[in-house]
């Protein structure tokens, strides 16, 4: 056996490169996200940047004036009365000012040094005189952008206004560390992988490569699946009005630069203004109430639907009764009628029962689920009747046969039905909207409550996303629990007739 196949080496290096790209990308974004969460607690986004202190401005003005004097003397007949400039903000005032002056010199041909992006700057004629404007593109390293306006008063130029449009944020400052950390972690992983590769006997290196490839493919799959969730979490931290603004250079860089925790505070009604609320009913009018309401409605509904459907399915599947098939066919036929048709009559009946605006009304009409009965019956048909007979010979009562034999065997499908029903009620907007009594926040459920964040023309996307962060939790937990039972049920139910 040859000890080194060049193809294998090339494959390994290629896979390492892919691994590096993936891990830098993932850890970069994850670490940035982590930093962002911390920053969102400690730093609020700058809404109105402060005007620089007067002493700074004076020093700055002197630097600028020197240049303008030189400019005026070189071109005595100039007509410029008004200058405005927009330029990148550097770390120190002097550095900025000299850079700024250089750009003017460059533009007027007084000096040869300095760089300016010609495309982004221009001279504009107006009735008052020439106006010079610079535009600087924001990029990752230089986020500061300041607009300066100068007016000539007699012989000197005076700084009229300074307007900062964006400042270097805390996220920008931490950006280098985050990137560094992401690279270090990635290098560490690479080193570990290389060490493992070296430890692996040459004969098994091909398998090692296959495994590495498999894992990388799986990781990419996970990234694709998790990206929308990541997007949701990131958007939840964006300030109102900035949710739809993306990084020009890298649209996948979705972690906000100026994060805020306000969306969560508003959703959970933890704003100081809102805490001052004295009305006991209004105090209850918040997301956590909606959440508990929805959890109760969905759990109760799912539990009873599953129970009732299982009992009905057992009878239809294993018991003899006259016209059984015709009855079942009739039940199935009702599935053909769209549920929306029943909405108004059902609402009428519920209100006549005096249940309008109660939690019971949210799920009572949906307790009889033909779909559930159908699904469970189809599964129970596959359970061998001999098992039931064996139980009966051992002296099991009818209820025991149902609860000891049927239910455990049908657990996977029962859990599936539980999940489906839970999901249906967790997100059932229209019916819950209709029966909700909005005067009583204790009857408002999550899907309806989430709609309150949407206005006629505008939606508070950040708030909707932060509320969604909470609303996916029960479903995620349920799936994680159910997953275990699915597999268990599958193996236990494998019986041969």
């Amino acid at each position: 056996m040859k000890n080194m196949s060049p193809i294998r080496i090339v494959g390994f290096v290629a896979l390492l490169a892919v691994l590096m790209t993936i891990s830098v990308g993932i850890f970069g974004q994850l670490l940035k996200f982590g930093t962002m969460v911390v920053v969102s607690f400690t730093h609020q986004p700058v809404v109105n940047p402060k005007f620089p202190p007067a002493s700074d401005l004076k020093a700055f003005q002197q630097i600028i004036n020197k240049f303008f004097e030189a400019y005026n003397s070189s071109d005595p007949g100039n007509t410029i009365e008004h200058l405005s400039s927009s330029s990148t903000l550097e770390k120190t005032k002097e550095a900025f000012a000299s850079g700024f002056v250089k750009r003017y010199q460059n533009d007027f041909g007084l000096s040869l040094s300095g760089t300016v992006n010609k495309e982004e700057s221009f001279v504009q004629d107006s009735s008052l005189g020439a106006k010079i404007v610079y535009r600087t593109i924001f990029d990752k390293e230089k986020k500061g952008n300041a607009d300066f306006e100068f007016v000539r008063e007699g012989e000197v130029w005076k700084l009229k206004t300074v307007d900062f449009t964006r400042l270097r944020t805390t996220m920008d400052k931490s950006g280098k560390f985050v990137q560094g950390a992401a690279f270090s972690i990635s290098y560490l992983i690479i080193v570990v992988v290389i060490l493992k590769w070296l430890k692996t006997p040459v004969a098994r290196r091909y398998d090692f490569l296959k495994m590495l490839f498999l894992y990388e493919a799986l990781v990419i799959g996970v990234v694709v699946v998790m990206f929308p969730f990541f997007w949701m979490f990131s958007t939840a931290f964006k300030a109102s009005g900035t949710e739809l603004i993306f990084n020009e250079k890298n649209p996948f860089d979705i972690v906000p630069n100026e994060p805020t925790i306000n969306n969560f505070k508003r959703v959970l009604k933890m704003d100081p203004e809102q805490e001052a609320q004295t009305d006991p009913i209004e105090k209850k009018n918040n997301f956590s109430t909606y959440f508990v309401n929805s959890l109760l409605v969905a759990t109760t509904a799912a539990f009873f639907v599953t129970l009732l459907s299982a009992m009905a399915a057992y009878v239809f599947s294993k018991k003899e009764l006259p016209y059984k098939n015709a009855l079942f066919g009739f039940l199935l036929a009702t599935m053909m009628i769209p549920g929306l048709m029943f909405m108004v009559p059902q609402f009428f009946m519920i209100c006549k029962m005096g249940l309008c605006g109660t939690k019971l009304a949210m799920f009572l009409p949906h307790l009889a689920s033909v779909f559930g009965v159908f699904m469970l019956k189809q599964f129970m048909d596959t359970i061998p009747s001999s098992l039931l007979e064996a139980a009966r010979i051992d002296g099991a009562s009818e209820w025991q046969v149902f609860s000891v034999v049927i239910i455990p065997l049908a657990m996977p499908i029962i859990l599936t039905l539980f999940l489906l029903t839970f999901l249906f009620h967790w997100s059932n907007f229209l019916w819950q909207l209709i029966v909700t009594d909005f005067a009583n926040p204790l009857s408002i459920t999550l899907p309806v409550g989430l709609a309150l964040f949407r206005g006629q023309y505008t939606s508070e996307i950040g708030q909707i996303m932060s509320a969604s962060c909470f609303s996916i939790v029960p479903i995620a937990v349920l799936f994680l629990i159910a997953q275990k039972y699915f597999i268990e049920g599958m193996t236990q139910g494998a019986v041969k007739e």
């Binding site: 449009t165 508990v292 909405m343 609402f347 309008c356 909207l433 206005g455 006629q456």
Partner: protein
């Protein structure tokens, strides 16, 4: 077992005593609205003031907040079953449906004709259904032209001078467009409501006054829609923002890809947060000058209410100049009452442009279901833009559909 514990916990958590809010023997008037958080708190102040007046001692108004997204189905079902409120704030387009289904009170029996002239004509007109005033204009807005000053500067245009006419708009648009870089002068929505500014600047009516004829194929309407289509087809200054999956005008504007969009005052705070240097101009003028559409909400009183007069009194108070002025000053909204225009002072110049634009509005087409009108006409509008039909063909087809599907309702 775990399930039982969890469920027990849930029950305890959700166990709440329902606190009754019916006050001290006063008669309760239910007012369903769709306001946001800030608006709701100011509404409460106004209600308390009204209740404190000696002549209103016997009344209590219970303001109940619904999500805007669901207010139509909620009201439809509640009214069908007879559990509707006494009065409600509804989308302007919903008034016609409610009125024609005989749910709303004709306001003239309370003397609305005497006070109607104080309201802004555009929003007022959206309540005028089949010869009767069926509701109060209650909150209003319209579209105007947002433009990005930075992009104007870059194109060598004066950032304080937005286009005044459509011709100027096209001329400036060509300077602003740089399609290689994905930068366009204009991004537009292509629905009927968003096209109304075009129709109105050409003086085109969509539906005849008596609500029986479709006028979409009139000469003015075709000209208006031709201009709109040409922005994309001939002049190529529009980005195709109306396409499914395209960058929406709002998003394009926020990301500095579109230099101009038509949008309403609701986006002012948003765009300020986005830190864009923008200004607002009037809708460019057509043959009939500048004009815009009407959005917002109206307040209606339902026939099922036992106390329509008290509701009327409250809504008159709510839309009175002083209350409107205070409401609009605090929330930066456009008053519906003409007299309130003199009382409000906005520091934001941009908002003042909207006030000016609002006075030029002429009201929207009155149809039972505006959604249906949108559903029928929008595909025809799109057919023009995709080049499948000419403007006159599409408008002729649209008219046929409108007359058979929308006006017969």
């Amino acid at each position: 077992m775990a399930f039982a514990v969890f469920y027990g916990l849930l029950l305890i958590l959700s166990w709440n005593q329902v606190v009754s809010r019916t006050p001290d023997g006063r008669t309760v008037l239910a007012f369903w609205h769709t306001y946001g958080d800030e608006e709701t708190s100011i509404l409460k102040e106004i209600i308390t003031e009204w209740e404190k007046k000696p002549e209103n001692a016997g009344w209590a108004i219970r303001a109940i907040r619904l999500p805007f997204d669901g207010h139509k189905p909620k009201l439809r079902t509640a009214l069908t079953v007879g559990l509707g409120p006494d009065m409600a704030r509804v989308d302007w387009s919903f008034v016609a449906e409610l009125a024609r289904k005989n749910s709303t009170v004709d306001l003239s029996e309370f003397g609305f004709d005497k006070i109607k002239d104080q309201y802004v004509p555009g929003p007022l007109q959206t309540n005028f259904i089949d010869g009767k005033y069926q509701g109060f204009p209650e909150q209003t807005n319209c579209l105007a032209l947002y433009y990005n000053k930075t992009m104007f500067r870059k194109a060598g245009l004066d950032p304080d001078r937005p286009p005044k006419t459509w011709d100027e708009f096209i001329e400036m648009g060509k300077k602003l467009t740089n399609s290689d870089k994905g930068i366009f002068a204009f991004g537009m929505d292509n629905s009927v409501w968003f096209s109304l500014p075009f129709f109105n600047t050409f003086g085109a009516k969509l539906i005849s006054g008596d609500g029986t004829k479709c006028l979409l194929n009139s000469e003015e309407a075709v000209k208006a829609i031709q201009l709109k289509a040409d922005l994309f087809l001939t002049h190529k200054i529009e980005a195709g923002a109306w396409r499914a999956g395209g960058t929406t005008p709002e998003q394009g504007f926020q990301n500095q890809l579109y230099a101009m969009i038509l949008s309403g005052p609701w986006n002012l705070p948003k765009f300020i947060n986005s830190k864009i240097d923008f200004g607002i101009g009037l809708i460019p003028a057509g043959p009939k000058g500048t004009s815009s559409n009407v959005g917002g909400n109206n307040a209606v009183i339902f026939k099922s209410s036992k106390y329509p007069k008290a509701c009327y009194d409250f809504l008159v108070y709510f839309t009175s100049p002083e209350v409107q002025a205070r409401w609009c000053q605090k929330l930066s909204q456009i008053p519906v009452n003409m007299k309130a225009y003199d009382l409000v002072k906005f520091e934001d110049k941009n908002l003042n442009v909207f006030l000016e634009q609002m006075k030029t509005t002429v009201g929207n087409p009155v149809v039972t279901s505006f959604e249906m009108l949108e559903n029928v006409v929008n595909p025809e509008l799109e057919a023009i833009l995709t080049g499948q039909k000419t403007a006159s063909e599409a408008m002729r087809d649209a008219c046929l559909k409108v007359e058979t599907k929308v006006l017969t309702q």
